[in-house]
Amino acid sequence: MIEARDVTKRYGQKAAVSDLTFTVRPGIVTGFLGPNGAGKSTTMRMIVGLDAPTSGSVTVNGKPYAEHSAPLREVGALLEARAIHTGRTARNHLLALAATTGIGRSRVDELIDLVGLSDVANKRVRGFSLGMGQRLGIASALLGDPKTLILDEPVNGLDPEGILWIRNLLRSLAAEGRTVFVSSHLMSEMALTADQVIIIGKGRLLADVPVADVVARAAGAHVKVRAPDATTLSALLAGPDVTVTTTGADTLEVAGLGSEEIGTIAADHRIALFELTPIHGSLEEAFMELTRDAVEFGTPGTAEPPPAMSTSTGGRR
């Protein structure tokens, strides 16, 4: 459980984070979303006591981080960039961290196996790929078997296999009842990993909503239809809430009707279809709309749903 109350962090005149209040609950994966520079990393640094808030408070499992007698057993953190001395081997890095809290060698070896670094555990971190570095960072975060995990951009720069690995790891950690707080600037990634998203922009809270809500905003934008007799079909589909756009000799984009309805209408009139593809609105666009509102109007948490997202062809991965 992470609780931030009216947290503000100023660097000189500039506020990196302003009056941020949120709660990260155990048992689910909570995404922390915002464009670059929104204040995600600053917030995470404040959670683990690396930066002190200018005002407000952050507690983890009921106490400020620094007041825990064994912080590594409460919170595991993977912070931005690598917090690893590259001249040391992976195993020695973990052993040095583990020593501060009296965590034994067997736990270190267990984690090296868990994150799949057994083959390179005695190699210096300097030669590690980004993915291996992230795995080592995750092993560091898990050292104390903490109830709460904080991960800053864990999938940044990872290959698909690494992304899948982290996604599954986060979900299984949450399923064990842990609090999992993970930042990203990719809404599409969070849609697959998180249950809840906290969205910030310019250091302010924009939304604290279930991921399903954001996905719903972006879904069902339009259907791409390809038919040899597109002109006839276009006329048949026309209706009060339906927009049909001709995008090619035999291609239509239909908003306002589902692919089932379009397919049925075409079959009723014996019109051949070559393609019938529902195109989801882009999550990134839904996310950008949310954050853009904040930038334009500066009113946290009151972002209106974006009007239309019919042009995107991105879709959910």
Partner: protein, 271 residues
């Protein structure tokens, strides 16, 4: 790799973060870094090497030495001349022990593990001070004794007046340089800046004061960190300098002040 992840929570043995544990962590960090082991080795080998080689050639070339060189000859100085190598190595290593964590980002992991922060500074000081003392005092003796053997008939001995004091003080001086290095590293948090600041104070500051009027030099000079510390490094005390161990105490006071300021800033600043 499997996609289902068994995060077997083998509950790690209980226990809080303590200073002894932080010390053990810092000791692991020190010995597992190739660069720190290398620089520590350079400080030992460099000091002994320079002292021994200098002593050997002084003895070998004795007949060809110029009168001015002969007048300046001091068997203790000749055998311990390599302390400047050790000073550079130990000072740099002290700075690196702290700034290496900042430049790599390791400091975030370190301070997240020990959020009280000060134990990390104390642990680094304890580990490095013990290590430099254990290395540098014996190195000073080895350098001196080997040097005297190589100087042959021109040698002196530990029992001669002031000699034992110089040999011990050289090791102590180098240990304090290491402490200053850690303090400067923690103050500046940047490797190049930390090294420049440390050797600016130790090597450049005396030169700067050297351009001032001599009455100023006489007043300020003896109290400069390096001058105060090095007062104990000559067999016949320099009348212009502080008394040997007084000077060393002044040098130690500088190290303590720098450490206290570093500690205060470590608590106050964001990591």
């Amino acid at each position: 790799m499997s996609t289902t992840i068994p995060v077997a929570p083998t509950a790690p043995a209980g226990g809080a973060v303590t200073l002894p544990r932080t010390i053990s962590s810092e000791w692991i960090k020190f010995r597992t870094l190739w660069s720190s082991v290398l620089v520590a080795t350079i400080s030992v080998v460099g000091m002994i090497g320079v002292g021994w080689v200098g002593s050997f050639f002084t003895n070998a070339d004795w007949a060809h030495m110029r009168p001015r060189e002969l007048a300046r000859f001091d068997p203790v100085v000749t055998s311990l001349n390599g302390y400047t190598v050790a000073e550079l190595a130990v000072g740099t290593l002290g700075v690196l022990l702290v700034t290496g964590e900042y430049s790599t980002g390791m400091i975030r992991a370190t301070m997240a593990a020990v959020p009280a922060r000060l134990p990390v500074l104390w642990a680094k000081l304890i580990v490095f001070t013990c290590l430099t003392a254990v290395l540098m005092v014996p190195t000073s003796f080895v350098s001196f004794l080997g040097g005297q053997a190589l100087l042959g008939t021109h040698s002196t001995s530990l029992s001669a007046p002031g000699v034992l004091r110089v040999v011990v003080a050289t090791g102590v001086y180098l240990t304090l340089v290491g402490v200053l290095g850690i303090a400067f590293g923690a103050l500046v948090r940047n490797t190049a800046g930390g090294i420049a600041a440390l050797f600016g104070v130790l090597l450049v500051l005396p030169a700067i004061v050297g351009v001032l009027p001599s009455s100023w030099q006489d007043t300020i000079g003896p109290y400069l960190p390096a001058n105060a510390g090095q007062a104990a490094l000559s067999v016949i005390p320099d009348p212009a300098a502080l008394a040997p161990w007084t000077g060393m105490a002044v040098f130690a006071a500088y190290a303590v002040i720098a450490t206290v300021v570093a500690a205060v800033l470590l608590r106050r600043r964001d990591v």
